[in-house]
């Protein structure tokens, strides 16, 4: 597999990103951005390879650095072990797109066993990347990753199209919620809350699809202000319809939609769990309550804000995320540079 490069050619590092068929949403969008971004391509050659996590052997890869975006599970451990064994000489990183405190709280009963799984899987990698600062703090606080092996690498699916949108105007009336119709997103809570909101002209549109669709439609039945829409090929076009985006997620490792809403100059109201705390730090509004009445009050407050203040807030939000693409590129450049410069850097024993 050794390639003989012409002596004069600068050797661009080959970075292979592994994804699996279970990936969707934010991971896919991030990979697309990685693959097409010219500035990233200037420093390294990024390619994406889809693998099956349940395979027992690692595929042949022409790579200098391997970056896993795979979902970790007990079933995936044999594959990860095989990958580490076959590419023992290569630096490997893992980007943790899924697991965060809210996920564990809402889905895992046997928590010590789950922590053992994560520690075992993470031990195969030279570096672990969290997709939000808050998720990274959690990984460190629970002893799942040593701070010296952690890098915060916030996701980005490209924000240029969103930055180009005109700012939302006036107090918000068109509320949007975007994402997979899954219990994770808390859209059930949002519908119940919105039904209690008595703001004239307010509408709520849920954009997406998923296993909870029937239940969400039933919850919304009889309230003509609540509508549903499918995913759009152009997320920015969809965003244009909304004055405010609401994310009452029960867990959210990062929350790409939050980044895009702020880039679009929309109001943003989030639950603040996990990675959504990063967006609160950048100016998103926070609702910590987990009941419909808490969200109804927060939506009503949002709709009642002074238009001038709202405008200033939207501008500040946009300013806070205008550098998101640059941050993303710099993060991957740093990851590749660190790993290739010192492959044994902090490698787990």
């Amino acid at each position: 597999m050794t390639q003989i490069l012409p002596a004069a050619a600068p050797a661009r590092l080959r970075v292979v990103h592994l994804v699996d068929d279970g990936n969707w949403g934010g991971v896919t969008r991030g990979m697309k951005f990685l693959g097409r971004d010219a500035d990233l391509a200037a420093s390294a050659q990024h390619s994406v390879v889809t693998v099956s996590r349940s395979a027992l052997s690692a595929p042949a890869l022409e790579a200098d650095v391997i970056v896993s975006h795979l979902a970790i599970s007990w079933r995936a451990l044999p594959f990860l072990t095989a990958l580490r064994a076959r590419y023992a000489h290569l630096p490997m990183a893992h980007v943790e797109h899924s697991y965060c405190e809210g996920f564990v709280a809402g889905n895992v009963l046997h928590r010590l066993r789950f922590q053992t799984l994560l520690r075992s899987a993470f031990a195969m990698f030279d570096r672990i990347c969290s997709v939000s600062a808050a998720q990274g703090e959690w990984l460190v606080a629970r002893g799942l990753v040593g701070r010296e092996r952690l890098q915060v690498l916030r996701s980005c699916g490209g924000v240029a199209d969103f930055l180009d949108l005109p700012l939302a105007e006036g107090a918000p009336r068109a509320f949007g919620a975007i994402g997979r119709f899954d219990r994770q997103k808390g859209f059930d809570l949002l519908i119940e809350a919105f039904r209690r909101v008595a703001v004239p002209g307010a509408t709520l549109t849920l954009v997406g699809d998923g296993p909870e669709r029937g239940r969400l439609e039933a919850l919304a039945a009889g309230d003509p202000r609540i509508g549903f829409a499918g995913y759009s090929a152009s997320p920015a076009t969809m965003m244009r319809r909304f004055d405010a985006v609401v994310m009452p997620s029960r867990w959210e490792a990062y929350g790409l939609v939050a980044l895009e809403a702020m880039a679009a100059g929309r109001d943003l109201l989030v639950s603040g769990v996990d990675g959504l705390a990063d967006h609160v730090g950048r100016g998103a509004r926070l609702c910590r309550g987990r009941e419909a009445e808490d969200w109804a009050a927060a939506l009503t407050d949002l709709a009642a804000q002074d238009p001038a203040q709202a405008c200033a807030r939207r501008l500040a939000g946009r300013a806070a995320v205008v550098g998101a693409e640059a941050e993303f590129r710099a993060g991957y450049d740093r990851l590749v540079r660190d790993l290739s410069a010192a492959p044994e850097l902090a490698r787990a024993v």
Binding site: G102, V108, L109, R111, Q115, G289, A296
Partner: protein, 325 residues
């Protein structure tokens, strides 16, 4: 800043508060503050707390109009400065080494957010009843919290501040401070809080060995409260079920069966055989979990309810004449 804060919610507690504060001031771990929250008492509660504050600079008194137990604890948390926060009701006692045991436990187990211990039961005069709460200490999952509440009583838990802040929120209409305990509950506020901690954060709940709390059992007023107690418990379930619908769908019948068995035991203690029998039979119909997992306690409850129904209170042994948890 003190490492530990102990919050003492107190409502008309003049008969017991002095002993409670003496037990807290006598803790072997001394880097602490004691915050007595007088929740609108009409007796000498505030005076007793103020006397202790005069003798010991670590004691402070907070006074408020009555907000209930949850509201008193929340006001205490609001002013607490410690990295760890414990709760002791104004009629209970802490054994001298209790705080030290929890401080060490939390220092050694970074994943644990709530550390608790078992409790010995004492009577109105502070005398041991020879009974104890000895719950499961390790490997506690959210379903254990829901079914058996191993934390046991309001004077057993010591938490990290970070774990409490993970569940803080400010409900609509509250303008002054955050809530940690839900002040809309006047009963079942403990289990609501611990279960919410277990279902919305990944902080572990874990115990330390020993009966480090002396929990005072009050024989008065048991029977009338039963119906309200169950109603409050059902409201907790209704409130939290949307957080984890699958969890509640799976575990609520067994948890309700334990709750009914507990109320049956209280009805036995209160001498109401008819109600006790009704409750224990309702419990058995709901789920076999109590019978399979705690057969002795379940069958004793059934036998006691039957005996009381058939023969009256004279036949019952002493522990049942009071109460057990």
């Amino acid at each position: 800043m003190p490492h530990a804060s102990i919050i003492v919610p107190a409502f008309n507690a003049e008969a017991t508060l002095d002993a409670t504060l003496r037990s807290l001031r006598a803790q072997t771990f001394t880097d602490l503050e004691i915050i007595v929250v007088d929740d609108g008492s009409s007796d000498r509660t505030a005076r007793i707390a103020a006397d202790h504050a005069g003798e010991d600079g670590r004691v402070q008194l907070v006074m408020q109009a009555n907000r209930g137990l949850a509201g008193a604890r929340n006001s205490g948390i609001q002013v607490a400065r410690g990295a760890i926060i414990g709760f002791c009701d104004a009629d209970d006692l802490w054994r001298p080494h209790k705080l030290a045991a929890h401080v060490r436990h939390l220092a050694e187990a970074p994943a644990v957010g709530l550390s608790f211990s078992g409790s010995a039961l004492i009577d109105g005069a502070g005398q041991p009843l020879g009974l104890a709460q000895r719950p499961r200490l390790w490997g506690i999952r959210p379903d254990h919290v829901f079914l058996r509440n191993p934390v046991g009583n309001g004077s057993a838990a010591v938490l990290r501040r970070a774990a409490l802040d993970a569940i803080a929120w400010r409900p609509a209409g509250e303008t002054v401070r955050d809530w940690w305990f839900d002040e809309r509950f006047r009963q079942s506020e403990d289990i609501e809080c611990w279960l919410r901690l277990a279902l919305t954060s990944d902080w572990q709940i874990e115990g330390v060995p020993g009966t480090l709390t002396a929990y005072r059992v009050n024989p008065a007023g048991l029977s009338a409260a039963g119906g309200r107690q169950l109603a409050a418990w059902e409201r907790v379930v209704a409130k939290l079920a949307p957080l984890a619908p699958d969890f509640f769908a799976r575990h609520t019948p067994a948890a309700r069966a334990y709750q009914l068995r507990y109320l049956a035991r209280r009805a036995v203690s209160a001498g109401d055989g008819r109600e006790a029998l009704r409750l224990v039979l309702a419990s058995l119909r709901l789920s076999r979990h109590p019978l399979v997992n705690e057969p002795a306690k379940t069958l004793v409850t059934l036998a006691a309810a039957l005996a009381l129904r058939l023969f009256g209170a004279a036949v019952l042994p002493a522990p049942f004449a009071r109460r057990s948890a």
